[in-house]
Symmetry: C2
Subunit: 325 residues, 2 copies
Amino acid sequence: MAVYTDVSDEDLEAFVAEYDIGAVESCKGIAEGVENSNYLLQTDTGPYILTLYEKRVNPDDLPFFLNLLDHLAARGVKCPTPIHGRDGRALRELCGRPAAITSFLRGMWPKRILPHHTAELGKAMAELHAAGADFPMSRRNDLSVDGWRPLFDRCADAADSVRPGLRETVARELDVLEARWPRDLPTGVIHADLFPDNVFFLGEKCSGLIDFYFACTDAFAYDIAICLNAWCFEPDGQFNITKARNLLLAYSRLKPVSKAELEALPILCRGAAMRFLLTRLYDWVNTPEGAMVKRKDPGEYLHKLVFHQQVDSAAAYGLDPADVA
Amino acid sequence: MAVYTDVSDEDLEAFVAEYDIGAVESCKGIAEGVENSNYLLQTDTGPYILTLYEKRVNPDDLPFFLNLLDHLAARGVKCPTPIHGRDGRALRELCGRPAAITSFLRGMWPKRILPHHTAELGKAMAELHAAGADFPMSRRNDLSVDGWRPLFDRCADAADSVRPGLRETVARELDVLEARWPRDLPTGVIHADLFPDNVFFLGEKCSGLIDFYFACTDAFAYDIAICLNAWCFEPDGQFNITKARNLLLAYSRLKPVSKAELEALPILCRGAAMRFLLTRLYDWVNTPEGAMVKRKDPGEYLHKLVFHQQVDSAAAYGLDPADVA
């Protein structure tokens, strides 16, 4: 659930006057994006998205995010495109917060995932990875293996109150991940948060990707691992190998997956499960009772972690490393 | 803060297919309307509002609300107009809830109230009252004087924990209101919840009224009293007589205010303050700590009640009963 900053009409009108997008007709807070305040802004030239960056986003990262969107859009990736003001700037300030206007992306995120969705996702992710190849900026992934233990240290004391034995399970798994984390896979720009609510569809086709505020420079295959976690488990916890296979096949058709990447998938999937287990655990422990934020169950990702711990080859995800040898 | 029901794409597409409004391109939950789930629905013919009626609205009242909007729109009142499906129906079901699509009303609600806003409000309210005069349906106001004591009985035990002495203050005031409540003022359709977030502006002009889900048949002057409470106190608690006078003058220019109505204003204002004090107190006491609803401070309306208790003539609101004698 997003935060909503009340933007006064005067401030909004002055802000929009910096752009060549016409006069404001409407501006409504929307339930989109967890980290920022998003508004659907209508002017007499059409709909736009206005984003106010709230405290969880580091302002120093904003040029990376906005330049990345410009870069991707110029290469035909369907994503929100920053609107530049008359002074050329895409990033300015509104209500004391960094703020930007982007194009409006048509489409809706799928509430019920069907196998064709993951094929479209694989295709869109491969296009994203390919288009980002010559993006000149880089951004470290703070939520990768080196960041997990410090994060866990800040919520470990409460882990067992969420699930008995969780503290020990996470500590042991971190030992394994730190020892076995692959460091030499092909890297580039990844989205790092391609959950269903960040992938829009019009009919059966993907119409674009949104919410690039975790994007960073990391292993491409780690982005795949995040998606296997986020898209390929059924609501009852069962892993759906058809959805996983669709994702991997569609991706590899556009961007070949190396043998090393495929072999690393099980450990990358364990890492991706750990990443969301830890951030959810941290939020669970640190979200005040009365906060207007829906806390997400860390247990969902413990379940996924345990599944991946039992996987010994990418064949379990529907694509055998032997296939790409 | 609104509730959001996750509407699946399949359900939404089937729902929209009942109308002649084109194909769905986007549907986003918006932070508008406290009682219902509202979505900004975009189709290839433009923007619409999709409303899912949640549990706080009695389904039996929906024909009153939707017919009223049809009636008002036909008389030129700027308000959301129900879109009728090919079968003629404006009310159907989506995700197990009553649901309707209305036209999209341009404009934004004023975050900072200036004196010209209340003049526009007075004009729009007078037009609403006049246009509703020949509306054939009626709906009792459950949140008027007869409803207050039963509501208070359900939260009185906790009143003093919100503010010491509040229980006694409310009980005494209810005695006064029940004894002195005017029963013979001119009645008709009133909005009954014309807070700033339900009144849209484009530039300096009112562009329309929304959220008619408290509309009912009651004294016109009670609607004025609600607005005096909701629009004419400054954030620091001071009553702004200029805003009140602008409201009353603009209203009375289009729809004359009788001497009886003006004389009743102080007690009606006390009643309106009591109504919002009680519903806020009830919500305060009955909203679970972790609920995703921002509780509103009942104390704000205690302060307003105390102000009106010291008023002995509508002259305190900027319009002297002698002026209309």
